[in-house]
Subunit: 351 residues, 2 copies
């Protein structure tokens, strides 16, 4: 097979103030073709197989992003849109990385990537589990859920736990860890469709409520009549605001994400019930999994073990893998913000 | 002296949705006269000398107050408006409490109170300090500032600290404890007039900024160019929202009060920069001093000691004592919300 010399890439064309724009003059991303540089010693050439779709990517392209106040440098206009993914090594000038192996890396919306071999992590799928799980339950989302529940809010079997974005990549694992590993007293999910809610209940939630339902607030009040000790929040915005009124004294909020804010820089719905934080002595604890990155292999092993024992559901149903042509990468990514995924949203690049 | 048989009282007439209303049909408080019951064994009769004015009282009369979600039961329509204060014992059927002594208690806007002797705390002013300090620096405000800084956010000499409401009852002591006792690297106050700011700087703040100044945000950005590790927040609202953008990674917010919200149940300005909590891994820690109440005597002794050494400023300038007729009690209380006080706002009841 002859090696490629050119690659298509999606670069950032304009930073979006609200929802990303797919087409037209103000389009957020632009498709370009560029030369692939020759490999230097220690470098490898990767072909993109799967792309990870993460709400956090919205923050990296915000016009308000301030370098140093993100956990990664922002993506600037003209840069390739940054993304995590799973890649096939197609050429290598490193003894440590063989051609043909699968690796995890931070790259971008590009067909081919030249990268230092030190910056890739070889992945070895468990028998019976597809490699895509290294972007989902056995990757950063699973690690985030475990880190947040066990290290940040230190959930115990005494706790009633609510998880927002419960059908999302992190949320569905958080629900399972809370119920099946920690054995929390009551585990309540919040998601955006009845179908997702039934799935979250199948995963182990005592109940899951659809925040788009007319009776959502009353239902949540009823289900939390004994109040909530731990809120694992992927969403922020109105869902967090209302949840503050349902927290028990000394309740802990694991502030994992704020997807409600990411596409609405100018009309964010603010947190109005802040006085609850004072009156009820709440702790709101922001965290990012990279601060506990060293523990990733041990968490992967632990979660895989729980899966083998039949405790955790890790499988196709935790993922929405969207078969995508290169030109449709932005479109698949935007499913994140319209609730188009159940579990982890993964782009599978068509050959 | 013959003992009184009747007392004037301010009772709650209507729960206010916005700012309390002093006069007219919808007035928040109503003046009544009622009989004083005869003392039973173990009870004492108190005459009100000073009333404590606290932003938290606004929460106790909110129509949205939910019993069990306040640290005190709310005040209901028809109840005497609740208040802490300093009282003179004018009659006693308890061997433990002598007629003529001064006591601290939770009572209300009333000339006379019948109360169980167990619920009063005798106060013994330090030589050189007026008894009013048991409502200010040596009372709950000083205790709150010390508790928040040393136990909740655990401020150290490595920290840059910002205090909002810096000229208030709690804020002015927090500034002093941070700078003079903990020795924090940089201490920045936020207050509502230039005059208050200059006073806060005299107390030890490296700088104090007037949030009503046109250049406030730019000034705060400049003064916090190295970012902020600890924010001791008495205010919430827009000041907290902006401060979230100035916090350093792993910064801690001591959420002590939310006075910006108390009079505006329906048009609260929400926290919009919540994503900063996630990205910067901030901790927002709500607290109420009563959870550490056991330590009050030891904190009083410690602060009095620092005053004796000349380190802490505790004196007339920490208090705004307003000579008030009984009928003007609500009017004096409302100075809290118009920035009418420097340090602790205390009502001195005219004889």
């Amino acid at each position: 097979m002859s090696l490629p010399t050119k690659t298509q890439q999606w670069i950032l064309n304009e930073k979006p103030y609200a929802e990303a724009v797919l087409e037209g003059e103000n389009q957020t991303f632009k498709l370009v073709t560029t030369d692939i540089p020759a490999l230097k010693d220690g470098e490898v050439l990767l072909k993109t197989v799967y792309l990870s779709n993460d709400p956090a990517q919205r923050g990296w392209i915000s016009p308000y992003a301030i370098p140093g106040r993100l956990y990664m440098p922002p993506v600037e206009v003209g840069d390739v849109m940054k993304s995590m993914g799973i890649f096939r090594v197609v050429d290598s000038r490193s003894a440590a990385v063989e051609v043909g192996s699968l690796v995890n890396a931070v790259s971008g919306w590009t067909e081919y990537t030249v990268i230092n071999a030190k910056d890739v992590v070889k992945i070895t799928p468990q028998a019976g589990l597809p490699e895509t799980h290294f972007l989902g339950a056995l990757g950063l989302p699973g690690h985030t859920a475990y880190y947040g529940l066990t290290q940040i809010v230190k959930a115990t079997s005494e706790d009633t736990v609510v998880v927002s974005g419960a059908a999302g990549a992190v949320g569905n694992i958080a629900i399972q860890i809370a119920k099946k590993m920690i054995g929390c007293k009551k585990v309540i999910g919040i998601a955006g469709t009845d179908e997702k809610c039934r799935w979250v209940e199948k995963l182990g939630a005592d109940v899951c409520l659809n925040y788009k339902s007319a009776s959502y607030k009353q239902d949540l009040e009823k289900e939390t009549s004994d109040l909530v000790n731990v809120f694992f929040d992927n969403v922020a915005g109105e869902i967090l605001d209302f949840m503050l009124t349902r927290m028990a004294k000394y309740g802990r909020v694991a502030a994992c994400g704020a997807i409600a804010n990411y596409n609405r820089d100018n009309d964010i719905i603010g947190i109005k019930n802040f006085y609850e934080v004072v009156y009820m002595r709440l702790q709101i604890l922001g965290f990012i999994n990279i601060d506990w990155f060293d523990h990733l292999p041990e968490v992967q092993a632990l979660l895989a073990d729980e899966w083998k024992k039949g405790k955790l559901v890790i499988g196709d149903e935790n993922e929405t893998v969207v078969d995508t042509s290169f030109k449709d990468i932005p479109r698949t990514w935007m499913l994140l913000f319209s609730g188009g995924n159940t579990g982890k949203l993964i782009t599978k690049l068509q050959e």
